[in-house]
Amino acid sequence: MTTLIIAQLTIQETQRRRILWIGGIMAVLFLLIFGIGTHYIFLEWEESNIVGETFDIVSGLLLSAGLYVVNFLIIIMSVLTSVTAVSSEIDTHTIETLITKPVNRWEVVLGKYVGFAGLLLLYVLLLAGGLILIFTLRSGLVVHNIAYGLAIMVLQGLVVLSVTIFGGTRLSTLANGVFAFMLYGLAFIGGWVEQIGSLLRNETAVDIGIATSLIMPTEILWKKALSLFQPQIATSTSFAGPFAVSSQPSDLMIQYAVAYTVIILILALFSFSRKDL
C-alpha cells in the first residue's frame, strides 16, 4: 500500500512540477516534426522512383535515426526525472516526515521506482510507439516485433532508473547525475568499440565492449531493440552505418539486463534501509 501511495505521489509531483506536461508537449512536437520530415522525404523518394532494397535500406536508416534519438531522450528523461528522487529528499530532510510514519523504508524507495517506471512506460509508448506508427503509416513498410522491441527499450530505461535510484541512496544529487551519465557514456563508447572491433575482427576490442555491457547494459539493449524492429536492415552485412548491429545480442544478455535491474534495485532498497539520515 505504501509503495502505491508513494508511486502516486511521484507521478503527481511530475504533474505539478509540469515535467509530465512539458515532456508530453515536447514529445508531440518531436513526433510532429518527424512526421512532416518523413512525409517530405518519402515524397522525394517516390518522385525519384527509389525502389527495392535501396528503398528498404534508406527507409530503415530513417526509422533507426528516429528511434536512436527517442532512445537517447528516454535515457536523458530517466536520469533527469529520477536523479533527485531520493538524494534531494535526503538533503532537504523532506524524507524524514515520510519514513517516520509506520512504513518500511524500502517501500518508499520502491514506490518512487514504480512511479518513475510508470512514467517511463508512458513515455516509451508515446515517443517510440508514435514514431513507429507514423513511419509505418507513411512508408507502408513493416516494423517487426514492436511489442518486444518496445519492452526492451523500457527495460533499458529501467536499468538507468535502478542505477540512479541506487546512486541517490549513497550520493549527492549532482554526483548521482554525473555517476549515471558517465555509466551511460561508458556503455555507449563500449558499444562502439565493440562494433568497430567486430568489423576489424579485433577480439580485444570486442571483449572491452562486452565488459562495458556487463557494467552497464544499456547500449546492448538498444542494439537488441533495433535488431528486433528491423532484423534484415540492422544486421545487414551490406549496411554498416551507425545504426547497424554487427552481432545480434543474445537472449542471455536480456536475462542478464533483467537480473542487473532487479539486483541494483534491491541494493538500492537495502542501502536506503540501512542509511543514517
Partner: protein, 305 residues
Amino acid sequence: MVAIETQLLRKEFGSKTAVSDLSLSVKQGEIFGFLGPNGAGKTTSIKMLLGLTQPTSGSATLLNKPIGNREARTEVGFLPEHFRFHEWLKAHEFLDLHGRLYGMSKSLRQNTIPDLLALVGLSDNTQTQLKAFSKGMLQRIGLAQALLNSPKLVFLDEPTSGLDPLGRRLVRDIIHDLREEGTTVFLNSHLLSEVEQTCDRVTFIRQGQTLDTIDLHTYRPEKVELTLRVGQPNETLLAALKEWDETVQFSPASGRYQLTLPHENKLPELANWIMTNQYTLYELTPKKLSLEELFLKIVSQEEHS
C-alpha cells in the same frame, strides 16, 4: 507506563561520539523537555528514537516497542526541526498523504484534517500549495501532520523556531491540550522560557550524556538567592549579614541587599534574626532560578568538573 525508555544509547560517527550512553525514561502523559547546548546530541538522539539513525549500541523502546520497529511508529507523531515538506502539495493534500501513510481510512481523514487545519489556524489555506506558505505556516502544517493519528507520543523538535508570539502561544496551548488527553510530548527547544512554561520534567544533556533530570513542579534549588530590604540599612547590618553570606552586596540606589543562603530552610531563620535585632523588615524575596539560569549552571558545572 513508560513512553520512552533508553538504555546506554550510543551513536558514533567514525571517531566522533555524538551520543554517549544516553539513558532516560519518559512517563506516559508527561511533557518532557530535552535540553542541551548546540552539538549536545539532542537531534541525533531523537533520530535514533525515531529510527532515522541506527544506534551504534544500546537499546530503546517507544511505547514498549523497540525503536526502528514499524509498529513503534504507529502511535507516534513527529515535527522535525527542518520542516521541509513536498511544497507542491496543497495543505489538504499534504495532510491527506500523511494520513494515508498512517493507514487512516478515507472517512477518518476527511473528518480529522479540517479539524487539524482549524486547530493550527490554517482553515483558510486548505487549497494553498505549501510553496506559498511562510515559515511559520509551514511549521503549523508540520505540527498538524504530527498530530494526525491522535498519537500517544509526539516528538516536537524546535516546534516554535519559525513562529511569532501568537504562534508560540498556539503551540503552548496545543501542548497543554495534549497533556489533558494523556499524550506524551518529547520537546526539544532552545526557547527555555517555552520549556519552563510547558514541561513537567526536563533532562539536560551534554555530549550525549544525561547531566541531570529535574521535575519542574517540585524542583527546589539547594542555594537560594534573595533580595532583602530593611528600614535601617547600615554598615553594621552589612557586616552582620556577612555572617550569613560573605558575598552579600548592598545597592545604595535601591536600598536592597543581595545575598545567597545555602538552603531554603535558612529563610525563616534570617527573617527571625532581622526582627530580633530590631530591624524593620520590608522585603525578603527569594529569587526563583529560571530554567535558563539552571541550564547555564548545570552545563557550566559539568564543564568545570
